[in-house]
């Protein structure tokens, strides 16, 4: 009998134990991003929440503008602006309880500030005086993460640990569209789903990973579709609709808190500024595209909703702007002071107990600093003598 004949005789049978483990249908995201503002759904939303979101959006926009200005003045080494994405940032911060944890990426200073972090402390990484200028435990905000997607497994581990300890804590991790291509994104989602960890992943799909557009990043129907393969629900939301982002994240956080496991949320938004001040976005996108998104501005969307329904008037808008202006003035003033730096800090926190090698190097730096100080003293003295 030939091999072909053998094959012809072969009747495949399903493997003995095989049965589908999950019906993927409930996990699939809707075809279109979820929207609330401008729809009937908006009437369900607590007006106080809408006003709060509005105030935070206005503050956030002003914060982005101020930080960008500080970059131009040389006060910040770099600032990756989240202008245009404020609805995602603010909703991510407001949806969490105090005991929950936020895991931001480098573009998410605004989320950290909206969660209550001192605006100056949020900028130390970008100013360059220390990598993380705050105690992560104080507001339960992990350090702003520069490597892409590597903070996602941290969020999973923390949520898992809290769950093991019996604590009612949810972790929310932020990542960009580019970050979804990284291996850590995959591993984090897989771990989270297998462990049913109380964690929510929010992808801010702002269209570009520096210059690379989404269609060169993924062939998936949407980034939210990726959830299905891990066995968790995927949700697609209009990332410029603050009420919608808040609603979808609230549902996901509640689902996680109730023991339902993780959710992947993709918020479709747009980065209005260049990646950073070192980037020329004219090389990879046209003005018309940017202008089209300007017409879908998160602040304008919410402002329209609030004013249409009589929940916000000119005085209310002015109050929000004044509050934002005061925040910006305070930020400007404090950022224009040189930070006090102690070079000996270089050795202070490498190990709990410094190694003998580090102690030697510490002594070396101390000697160099002393010599420098003596040199300056001598200079002053000789200046004095000359006079």
């Amino acid at each position: 009998m030939t091999v072909m004949e053998q094959r012809g005789a072969y009747r495949p049978t399903p493997p003995p134990a095989w049965q589908p483990r999950t019906d993927p249908a409930p996990l699939l995201p809707d075809a279109l991003p979820h929207r609330v503002l401008g729809t009937e759904a908006a009437e369900r939303v607590d007006p106080e929440l809408l006003r709060r979101l509005y105030a935070e959006l206005v503050r956030g926009r002003r914060y982005n503008a101020q930080a960008t200005a500080l970059t131009k003045q040389g006060r910040l080494a770099v600032y990756p602006s989240s202008t245009g994405q404020e609805a995602c940032e603010v909703a991510a911060a407001l949806v969490l309880e105090e005991r929950d944890w936020l895991f931001p990426s480098y573009r998410d200073t605004l989320a950290a500030v909206a969660r209550g972090l001192d605006p100056v402390q949020a900028l130390t990484l970008l100013r360059g005086d220390w990598h993380t200028g705050y105690d992560p435990h104080e507001h339960r905000i992990a350090p702003l993460c520069t490597p892409l997607a590597t903070q996602l497994p941290h969020a999973v581990g923390l949520a898992h640990a809290a769950h093991l300890k019996g604590d009612d804590v949810v972790a929310l991790a932020l990542v960009g569209d580019g970050g979804t291509s990284e291996g850590d994104f995959h591993e984090a989602l897989n771990f989270a789903a297998v462990w049913r960890a109380p964690v929510v992943f929010l992808v801010q799909n702002n269209g570009f990973a520096i210059s690379v557009p989404l269609d060169k990043q993924t062939a998936a129907p949407s980034l939210a579709h990726k959830a299905v393969g891990y066995g968790m629900p995927g949700r697609l939301v209009d990332g410029n609709d603050a009420a919608a982002v808040h609603e979808v994240l609230s549902d996901a956080v509640a689902h996680a808190r109730a023991g339902g496991g993780p959710t992947l949320v993709e918020a479709v938004t747009y980065r209005m500024e260049a990646h950073t001040n070192a980037d020329d976005d004219k090389r990879y996108r046209g003005d018309s595209e940017v202008e089209a998104w300007r017409a879908h501005d998160p602040i304008a969307l919410l402002e329209h909703e609030l004013t249409e329904r009589g929940l916000l008037d000119e005085a209310g808008m002015r109050a929000a702007r004044e509050d934002a202006e005061a925040m910006a003035a305070d930020l400007r003033e404090r950022m224009n002071q040189d930070p006090a730096l102690d070079p000996m800090d270089l050795f202070a926190h490498v190990y709990a107990q410094p190694t003998t090698q580090l102690l030697e190097q510490e002594a070396q730096l101390r000697a160099e600093l002393d010599a420098e100080a003596r040199h300056h003293e001598n200079e002053h003295e000789s200046e004095g003598t000359a006079r």
Partner: protein
Amino acid sequence: MTTVALKPATMAQALGRALRDAMADDPTVHVMGEDVGTLGGVFRVTDGLAKEFGEDRVTDTPLAEAGILGTAVGMAMYGLRPVVEMQFDAFAYPAFEQLISHVARMRNRTRGAMPLPITVRVPYGGGIGGVEHHSDSSEAYYIATPGLHVVTPATVADAYGLLRAAIASDDPVVFLEPKRLYWSKDTWNPDEPQAVDPIGRAAVRRHGRSATLITYGPSVPVCMEAAEAARAEGWDLEVVDLRSLVPFDDETVSASVRRTGRAVVVHESGGFGGPGGEIAARVTERCFHYLEAPVLRVAGFDIPYPPPMLERHHLPGVDRILDAVARLQWEAQS
């Protein structure tokens, strides 16, 4: 005075016992990795732990080293002490970004606010006939990363004591387990296991006067054998087992070399860019006027780890060490 019953035990058993005792003493200690639960680890180091402590504390993870270490970071952030297993040296490479970008520097970048007491167990080195990617000596990568402690036991007692110290450390520790010593036996008292010195102290395994062999991990027994063999040649060799590469015990090493005036560094990993270069430089800087000959290195060749049927030519053996010792008769040569 009670007589301590010394029984033979393997290094793998001592490591398992250290994990067990650490878990019993401290409920925040969690063991995680691929196959560490039901199977008890491919080397059986975690045998019985899942049964005793449950799956929540001894967790079979998905097969993903970056995920294993990355989630351990989050767990440590929340106050746990994860002990993760990388199963084989070369399997750890996907986790390098987590190790280097986060584990090693989280304490530093948060100004001490967020220490990460994680122990990363890495079975390493060759000599067990492993196929490709199962025999690397990757210690040079780890010691080049500030913020990590890097330790490696060579005896059954040290396996226990150093692993206990690593787990108790508030800093991340890369714990390199010499695979080919897993089944090495030693008389050891498993009923009363003794903690050893804190991390960072070397041990003089054999006292001698004519030269110092500076070594660690899997090369320690080879150096001991070489030292015995060298007696026939009239060499009385001292053997220093570093036990810890970071922190490095300059004091013990320098004191030994000053006594003997000659030194050979022995390790399995490649010589170029390997730990031996650093060690030789440190010894030269500290002991130049005491040295009768240059500090020599006996290392693995600078090649990707060879297939198992050729590995005996790559691994530093007694003969290669003795050849180096012979070359220490510098004056006679020059």
